[in-house]
């Protein structure tokens, strides 16, 4: 058996011996490709894949130059960074930073409803939140006392609590584990347990 016969890839012990022998003989009779034939095939493939030499790509009849890309990049950098107005560029970068940070932060709203001295607490959180409850000095800091309900219209978590006039301290408990505060509402600094929010219900001048 020659080397070519022994390297027949599909010959296994389960094959039909007669068919395997016939295939091996056919494989042995096939002549090896000549170098010139290989070169012809390679050039044919390459010419189909690549543009012909000398036929440059054009944009609107203009031939593309490498420095067009460099000039566009320099213009973009100049417009964005504005080296002649560094303060304004910095401010705009700040705004973008703040907008990006705000998109990731919870947003709260506390509304004092005039009829019936009821206060409404709203909190917007990522959609993955499962449960939110309101805790504070008005419910003995009991997580089970004031659960919040997700509003269908905008996805915010909301609850209404009747509160007497005065100062109240509260926080939100997310998924029974994480304590959150409304970042824009008046805050009570961390005195050892973590920060909370303060709310003043009308009645003081």
């Amino acid at each position: 058996m020659t080397d070519r016969e022994s390297s027949l890839p599909s010959a296994t012990s389960n094959d039909d011996p007669a068919l395997a022998a016939e295939l091996a003989a056919l494989y042995a009779r096939t002549p090896a490709a000549e170098p010139a034939q290989i070169a012809r095939c390679t050039s044919a493939v390459l010419s189909a894949a690549l543009p012909a030499p000398g036929a440059a790509r054009t944009i609107g009849g203009l031939r593309f130059r490498w420095w067009w890309g460099a000039a566009a990049a320099a213009l973009l950098i100049a417009v964005v960074t504005r080296p002649w107005r560094p303060d304004q560029a910095q401010q705009e970068a700040d705004s973008a930073f703040v907008a990006a940070a705000a998109a990731l932060e919870p947003r709260g709203l506390t509304v004092e409803e005039r009829n019936g001295s009821v206060t409404r607490f709203d909190l917007t959180l990522p959609a993955s939140t499962k449960a939110v409850s309101l805790v504070g000095d008005f419910n003995g800091w009991d997580e089970a006392a004031t659960p919040m309900v997700r509003r269908a219209s905008d996805g915010a978590w909301s609850t209404r609590v009747p509160l007497p006039p005065g100062r109240h301290v509260y926080a939100f408990v997310v998924d029974g584990q994480r304590w959150l505060v409304d970042p824009l509402a008046p805050q009570v600094p961390d005195a050892g347990f973590g920060p909370t929010n303060a709310l003043i219900v009308g009645g003081t001048p």
């Binding site: 303060d87 910095q90 401010q91 970068a93 700040d94 705004s95 930073f97 703040v98 940070a101 705000a102 932060e105 805790v135 000095d137 008005f138 419910n139 003995g140 800091w141 009991d142 997580e143 007497p164 006039p165 005065g166 100062r167 109240h168 301290v169 304590w179 959150l180 505060v181 970042p183 824009l184 509402a185 008046p186 805050q187 009570v188 600094p189 005195a191 050892g192 347990f193 973590g194 920060p195 909370t196 303060a198 003043i200 009645g203 003081t204 001048p205």
Partner: protein, 239 residues
């Protein structure tokens, strides 16, 4: 009676007595002044649930509450702190430490704000002192508002300082607005303006504060020099 049974009975009795006496300071007014004050103030729903603490912590809390009541200090803010700690699953020693510090701050706030202050004012004042505000600033706020009317300035003052506004600048801004008639809404507007801008850095918060005071108080001088030109974004304080 066998010794183990006797010891068990004694322990049970002590536990029951401890729980009852922790509840007792909240049930009864501690002094005539406080009784008068509580009758004037809206009643907060502060219910002490001793079962939320272990017996040692409950006993120590009773001692702190008794001492505060003997000094004529309101106990409702202290009970609230303790309940908050229990809800956050803080350890007993941690709860006791926080309640002790708050009791001391309440006494300091009463000294600064005066004996006629309401318990909510004292609580807000103690929180302000806990935030690092000098008691002298509390006294300055008291000069702008009568008894029972300084809650909003104190809350706003505490929030401004927490957001990076220097204490004296915040005092000047708050007192200049607080002397105006029906100025609570203006003070809360100041708080919201500073809160929104503080996320862009302390310099932005100061700029916003100056602008707000200039627009709100006729003829007012901005309470601070213009903020620095440093506009580097900073992280908002951890919440």
């Amino acid at each position: 009676m066998h010794a183990p049974a006797l010891i068990a009975c004694l322990l049970l009795t002590q536990l029951l007595v401890a729980e009852r006496s922790v509840e007792s300071p909240e049930r009864r007014p501690h002094s005539q002044a406080e009784a008068r004050e509580e009758s004037r103030e809206p009643r907060q729903q502060v219910q002490f649930d001793a079962s939320r603490f272990d017996s040692l912590t409950a006993t120590a809390l009773r001692s702190i509450l008794d001492r505060a009541a003997a000094q004529g200090l309101p106990t409702a803010p202290l009970i609230n702190r303790a309940l908050e700690g229990a809800a956050r699953r803080a350890s007993g020693p941690k709860i006791l430490a926080v309640v002790r510090v708050h009791a001391a701050a309440l006494a300091e706030a009463r000294e600064a704000l005066g004996d006629r202050s309401t318990s909510q004012e004292l609580d807000a004042g103690a929180t302000a002192i806990g935030a690092g505000i000098d008691p002298g600033v509390l006294a300055a706020i008291r000069e702008t508002r009568g008894p029972g009317q300084a809650i909003t300035p104190l809350v706003v003052m505490t929030d401004l300082v927490r957001r990076g506004v220097p204490s004296l600048t915040a005092r000047d801004a708050v007192t200049s607005i607080a002397i105006m008639p029906t100025s609570d809404e203006a003070l809360l507007g100041l708080q919201l303006t500073v809160a929104k801008n503080a996320q862009r850095g302390p310099g932005m918060a100061l700029d916003a504060l100056n602008r707000y005071v200039r627009l709100t108080v006729p003829g007012a001088r901005p309470p601070s020099t213009p903020a620095t030109l440093d506009r580097k974004p900073v992280r908002p304080p951890p919440s």
